[in-house]
Symmetry: C2
Subunit: 435 residues, 2 copies
Amino acid sequence: MKTINIGIIGYGVVGAGVATLLTQKKELLEARTGAILNLKTIADIDITTDRGVELGNTALVNDALDVINDPDIDIVVELVGGDTIAKQFTLKALEKGKHVVTANKALLAGHGNELVKTARKNQVDLAFEASCGGCMPIIKSLRESLVANNILSMSAILNGTCNYILTKISQDGSLFEEALKDAQKLGFAEAEPSLDVDGHDTAHKLAILNSLAHGMEINLKDIHVEGIRNITPVDIEFAKSFGYTIKLLAIGKVHEDHVEARVHPTMISNANPLSHVDHSMNAIAIDADATGKTMLYGHGAGMMPTASAVLSDIADIARNIIFNTARRVPILGYPEDNIKKIPILPMDELYTRYYLRFEAQDHPGVLSQISGILGENNISIKSVHQKGRQSNGKVPVVMITHLAKEEWVQKALTKISATDSVVGDPIVIRIEEDA
Amino acid sequence: MKTINIGIIGYGVVGAGVATLLTQKKELLEARTGAILNLKTIADIDITTDRGVELGNTALVNDALDVINDPDIDIVVELVGGDTIAKQFTLKALEKGKHVVTANKALLAGHGNELVKTARKNQVDLAFEASCGGCMPIIKSLRESLVANNILSMSAILNGTCNYILTKISQDGSLFEEALKDAQKLGFAEAEPSLDVDGHDTAHKLAILNSLAHGMEINLKDIHVEGIRNITPVDIEFAKSFGYTIKLLAIGKVHEDHVEARVHPTMISNANPLSHVDHSMNAIAIDADATGKTMLYGHGAGMMPTASAVLSDIADIARNIIFNTARRVPILGYPEDNIKKIPILPMDELYTRYYLRFEAQDHPGVLSQISGILGENNISIKSVHQKGRQSNGKVPVVMITHLAKEEWVQKALTKISATDSVVGDPIVIRIEEDA
């Protein structure tokens, strides 16, 4: 039986998960792949902390170059995270002719095109199932299963921290800060939560998925990103009263000559299967021209779900090594020469429906002034909802618009904010029809 | 660019879908696979009906042997259906060294082991993504993505006809016969519906999925199968009042030295994501030791969703042909020598919870007699629910049991049916905890 040597760089939670699967599932993996997947070396700056894994003959080293420069190692698993030193390691490994498996979405979203080029030059594989949606096979689905489909749209819940917090606000009426603290206590949120709650992690994943779905270069910088810090129980209660749920969605849609790519809190109908995806679970809904609507659902993060996705990549590459067919499926789903630059629609040009909430003064003429400004900006109002006066004497006024252009909405809101009729910034939540 | 020649046998709905994708998506498929997927020949006994597909140079022939014996054809797509003539065609094609793609679950469930052996002998691929769950990539997920997982359990809605009918009964309070007629009118059910509504189609799919999940030989005959003909609005209303939904589930679970494999109407909690899968949609929930709970959701049948799955197999095999790596992934997920015979638990030995509904006489002592017989048979009752007297003077009595053995339950029910306390056969619906 052929032996495939594997080196891991980064022995944190996911690294320990991958090491656990490679050691505990040795027999299963051999039975399935017909190869011995041998964990030869693990590199980490901390090699003293006990990760609770029975490593056997695996070497634990401090220097990542001991993995990258080892001529016996076939597959390098990059689990360092971030996009600085991880980028150096990954580039070096590819240049040394190693196949690389990574779970690093920040790295791919920021530098994926360069990595793909380097992998091509060195005729090696670069695999990243674990980078988006944890254990859900979204990368394989887009690259292989949906091969005969044009992907029309994707809507996805890709960040467990945000989904946990939104579920908590929705179920307990907690404020954002309370729900965040709770998530941190339970290990669903980092001490520095901004990468998650401000939507950046979701945007990293959307940049990768959009590339695979549409055969386009990875483009992070043009994705519009908003997080969930402004979501309040008040808005969630209003949403409920309309039969809606608020989720942080990654939205990717294709048009004639451009795509949409945006991350923001979104109201979706309770008939949309994504509305039932709660707590830290993730899901990806895809509408494709042959399959129609499909959805994947599962753990988007965590030690073993992520490790399971890394192992599916390792097994794929092991089969490629056995059969001498590196790069059998192109890294981004299309051969590199067929990958296009497709522009992302500037946010100002988006047409969608809006939920707008104002803290209005409780005196006559306010409603007419707000709706007047909206009307002047071509924004047509579908319904108006008003709740009793709050303790501060202000009245929450909610308006649901028909399809309107983002540019018009932003212009109107700036003008409304400048009047005496409202206090504070209006809350804007975009509505997706049947995403 | 390499040309891969494809022949289709069976030009019905799915055949026309596959032909549509191969012709309309020619450029997309070339861009993705780097090969020309050329539909050389279509064979069907009816070649006069216009299927609405622009076929170009494709030959339409009457004789399947014109496909099977054509030395230029690389991939044969079997879309005849059934397990008699389709079996002959498939065996002959494999023996001629053709790779075969099929959507035929009845064929695989009944004769899969023989087909796998024949494919092995001739060193060709046999692919069947479209056989289970339509466009959902369940076969690829089990064979490739979940490679490092032990599958603990699967629960799946695999028949759109049954799910449509159950949704209809649940939403409109229709009787089974009315809902079936409605499904037939809308094209969701066949004129001869028994393959679907009696659970056999679901059992075919479960036989295939269990094999892939557990590395076992395909075994249809030991799967316990019940359909949905006995499901009434009364039971669905009771289920709702407990926070449950009734679905026809395929259930596969693994134990130390055997597996469970059963198809029957099942009560599941509304917290279970499967409970929200309505109308003709399908879904497969998998609990695996590394990933935890995941779910795939999508169209389980229909022209284009099924054709999309067939195309994913064709593309996979095309890549194998280009790289000369036929059988890169073993047909059943494990190399044939590693596939075991694993026994299926006899239904009598199943332990689960039960919903039992009796049509009881409205006189004293009835409840005590029923619960007495259950008690004598070790069946402990969790709760009793009684509704007002019906027009026939009978009272529906529902009992929910704690975990009980199927054998005890059947014995007790036989005894209860023989008393004067109840009329007709009791209704038995098994309850799955958090499937």
